[in-house]
Subunit: 146 residues, 4 copies
Amino acid sequence: MEDVLTACTVTMNIPVAWGEMDAMGHVNNIIYFRYFETVRIEYFNRLNMMGYQNQWGIGPILASTECRFKMPLQYPDTVIAGTKILSMEEDKFVMGYEVFSTKHKRIAADGEGVVVTYDYRNNKKVPIPDDLRVKIMELEKIKTGR
Amino acid sequence: MEDVLTACTVTMNIPVAWGEMDAMGHVNNIIYFRYFETVRIEYFNRLNMMGYQNQWGIGPILASTECRFKMPLQYPDTVIAGTKILSMEEDKFVMGYEVFSTKHKRIAADGEGVVVTYDYRNNKKVPIPDDLRVKIMELEKIKTGR
Amino acid sequence: MEDVLTACTVTMNIPVAWGEMDAMGHVNNIIYFRYFETVRIEYFNRLNMMGYQNQWGIGPILASTECRFKMPLQYPDTVIAGTKILSMEEDKFVMGYEVFSTKHKRIAADGEGVVVTYDYRNNKKVPIPDDLRVKIMELEKIKTGR
Amino acid sequence: MEDVLTACTVTMNIPVAWGEMDAMGHVNNIIYFRYFETVRIEYFNRLNMMGYQNQWGIGPILASTECRFKMPLQYPDTVIAGTKILSMEEDKFVMGYEVFSTKHKRIAADGEGVVVTYDYRNNKKVPIPDDLRVKIMELEKIKTGR
């Protein structure tokens, strides 16, 4: 498995569905963003982000995302999607994503997503809460320490 | 437009997206159920089903659905999806669906869906409420009267 | 695992993606047909159906499909999708499908699909070729013999 | 309609499907990339890109794409997706995308896509063919001249 993938904090195995290929015979471009989303949500679960949102009304919003396609994917294959948080600012953080083809043993795509912390009760962006910030640092540190 | 389509109570025009075609170069089979859903939700809106559910806690659940594929669809095309309620029983009704290709001027698929009225507050099936039943009959009668 | 699932000839584990849930907070109905398709294609691969189609121009077409929804699915969960061929006629066969929630240890949905053998070179339905019929019987027998 | 949208070379009206909303009750992020794709393919059709690919074996590959989300979308709504080519380099061009909510009369998202011209027969990137370059300039000029 490539270094970029082992550097990820959270990874998931996702089988490629035949029906996700488009008329070009390749996995359609929007499915890569589904991979990003799947591993993003898994990361959020490790932070207990949903519980946090239910309790405090502060949750994540995807502000922007980008994907660079390196290699077409085809059924049958299983991808490993991985993510880690690359940087944190006052009211947002940047996640990096990798999509690895286990059949070809190559990175098929990588990308980023900018996630804003949003106060749904007052409808405005808010700074990343301190305890969430600590959790993220712990999760990333634990990763580094492996 | 075919008779089966003019017999529908609600119809909607839906453009075929290129990305909805699969590796066979045809619109993937699951997209037909998206067409059924889209026109089903539109029908529910005409009944103000969501308002009903918010007020009384009684809403629709799709219990089963079926599609018969008559002709493959391809981009570019615009389908007309249509629906009507075929029958009502104590606690469920049956919707009929049609998918018409405007490019080929032919029915591409038809099907049915069985919708159960469910009491979300008491977690059980309930008879179709009388006022909802009346609304459905009016909607279908209005249609018949055209 | 339920008896209906162990009776399947081919099964696959498929993780539920968060993004496959709709605004009701349940896995959207069309995704169940994606599960059916995924395990249908896997079954076809075991028959080497694609190789057969490339060599002889005869391949499968989904003529109709139906799903009965037993229980809503939610992320996180992993479903086991299973299929077996229920019956064969002159020019078509019927596949049965099961979708099992590993979280709830219950069948979430079942259904059927009618698959027609089609001669793409002469654009007409053809009888199931004898060697394909034998392969299917072997695959189903192997299963029965477990 | 906003200036950014009138500045687009190709626009398309796309109804929002209820089933494209996710568990947050908003149109899922991957659907925005479907909007981009739909209008990208429409643009390619105006260039007769598919005919070009069939004749010369040179076609477009999406190398990367990005979306900035400005406002959540909800059913019912109809978006207008628009695109124009922002710049051309030796062997690639950059398309700009806009997604406009007709219900809210606001841009819901914008983004870009980098498209590489690829020689499928020799499996390598190639310069944008001169006649394709001319067609693009004509299409963009016609637009400017409106």
